[in-house]
Amino acid sequence: MSWSLAFALLQVADPQLPPVSTSVFVIATVIKMIVVFTVLMVGVALLTLAERKISAWIQDRHGPNRVGWHGLLQPAADGVKNIMKEETYPDAAYLPLFVIAPALAFIPAMLTFAVIPFASPLPTGGGLIEMVVAPLPIGFLYILAIASLGVYGIVLAGWASNNKYSLLGGLRSSAQMVSYEIAMGLSTIAVLLLAGNVALNDIIWQQATTVWNFFGLAIAFVIFLIAAFAETNRLPFDLPEAESELIAGYHTEYSAMKFSLFFIAEYSNMVTASALLVTLFFGGWDIPFTLWDNQAPWSVVKTIVTGLAFAAKVLFFLFFYMWIRWTLPRFRYDQLMSLGWRILLPVSLVYIVVIAGTLLILDLLGVRPGALHGVILGVVNIVLAGVLFLVLDSGRIISPASRRLRADQLRRLRAMRSRSPLATPGGD
């Protein structure tokens, strides 16, 4: 179903595009589609290896090192194994949806990447080619729309398997993704306010000419980062497949390549989320502290260098994803919901009001977007972050170790301890 929309959207030529002839446009788009798809697929295969290598490194092991040089061919071996394995179909499964669900999980992850600009425009004989598969004028809204469809694959896989653990996984994921989508969408309103547009190219240009948004809009960045982890079902938010509670959650009944497709979808989602974080908050393909890369004359060198800058930033966030996964434990389900609805949602709503107010005041004072503008926003964010931290923490994370506990604090801590299943009777 997603294809129909993709085709329609691809036909829309962006009015901002430099005049390239239709044939050049079509050929360039086809080439870009093939290149991006290939890079993403190979990248995803290597990411599965990277995940295992990084987990091994964090746990002081070697990781896979039998197939190829330092285990480099492990993804190929896994792929061959998954294709050769037998596909099993549960008797009670609803087959049409059972078969289509892995594809539904995978397609939105791929589609989202279509609008993310990954390098500066490339000059060719046929005209200037933008380094994005589909330069849509509604870029960011398209991403939100397609990302909201990722949940269908998981939910339908859970339901069509006709297995109670799968169903529970599917239910959890739909509740989780709907909850965090709201915080994610609201946190980015600040970015759009600052850029004054929803086209991703404009957001990158705004960051290149002032400061990157992760400084000026630090709280939005943190909210978006947390929501992105929840949206991709990665630890500490991998409740839909919590193996200690749900066997494997929504993909319990899947085998062979269909099972593998869910993993490919998860890693593609990670790549897309990282690319989105980079585009919205870390300047996209911009190279910091210089405008050399953002202006004409365009050249092949600029395209390659900015492409590498983009790749480096995305790889950092992919590493960050894995780093978090092998560091933090999983949330409890009620904690997950309370974080989404009772903390992230109100914080992002208040944040919109504060940022809109600040921008209005700066505009009235005649401060033009630039270095000073960015610094003022950054200071506002630091103050907000301090206030937020004090309110949220309230003695929970940071124990008042600098002074003696008051009597009531001590009583509260002891009460917590006696409630714990690990409490020793009578011990203190």
Partner: protein, 171 residues
């Protein structure tokens, strides 16, 4: 408006109608919901072809991405998803309502057939400086500000009402 455009218009139009018909004829609620999602998609595609990209994106985001997901969630939570569980209850009133709806539909078709074709609304040729969203926002926040604000109050009342209903203790 080349052949490509015409072809895609009919493609998505026919797909939308087929999906809508399949949606009303499916017995399984999950299958029906998915066909409805497909209808939404085809409509979004048609909006995009009319240069209303904002409406197209919002159509997918709100209807396909949020409302239908919640709908599926409820269907699954109540475990209504299997066709065998759904009994074909059709009271006399339901049949009467269906008949009236059918008559209205026929009347609409008749009017459309007799009436002249509506004048096509030409989209602005040059997009505004500030992108496609500004074109939607400007009338909303200038000409129709009061209506916009009243609608938002209505939605707020609905949200508060839902919370009150959910919080009410069952005695």
């Amino acid at each position: 408006m080349g052949l490509f455009y015409t072809f895609n218009f009919y493609l998505f139009g026919v797909l939308a109608i087929i999906s809508a018909v399949t949606f009303v004829t499916r017995r399984s609620p999950v299958a029906a919901a998915l066909w409805l999602v497909n209808t939404m998609f085809c409509l979004a595609a048609l909006y995009v072809m009319m240069d209303a990209q904002f409406i197209g994106a919002i159509q997918v985001l709100v209807y396909a991405g949020a409302i239908m997901v919640v709908f599926l969630f409820v269907v699954m939570l109540l475990n209504l998803g299997h066709a065998s569980d759904v009994t074909d209850v059709m009271s006399g009133k339901t049949r009467l309502a269906a008949a009236i709806a059918g008559l209205l539909f026929l009347a609409e078709l008749f009017v459309l057939w007799k009436d002249d074709a509506p004048v096509p609304i030409a989209p602005p040729v040059e997009p505004a400086e500030s992108g496609v969203i500004a074109q939607v926002a400007a009338p909303l926040f200038r000409d129709y500000l009061l209506a916009f604000e009243i609608t938002s109050v209505l939605l707020l009342a609905a949200i508060v009402g839902a919370v009150v209903l959910a919080k009410r203790k069952t005695t």
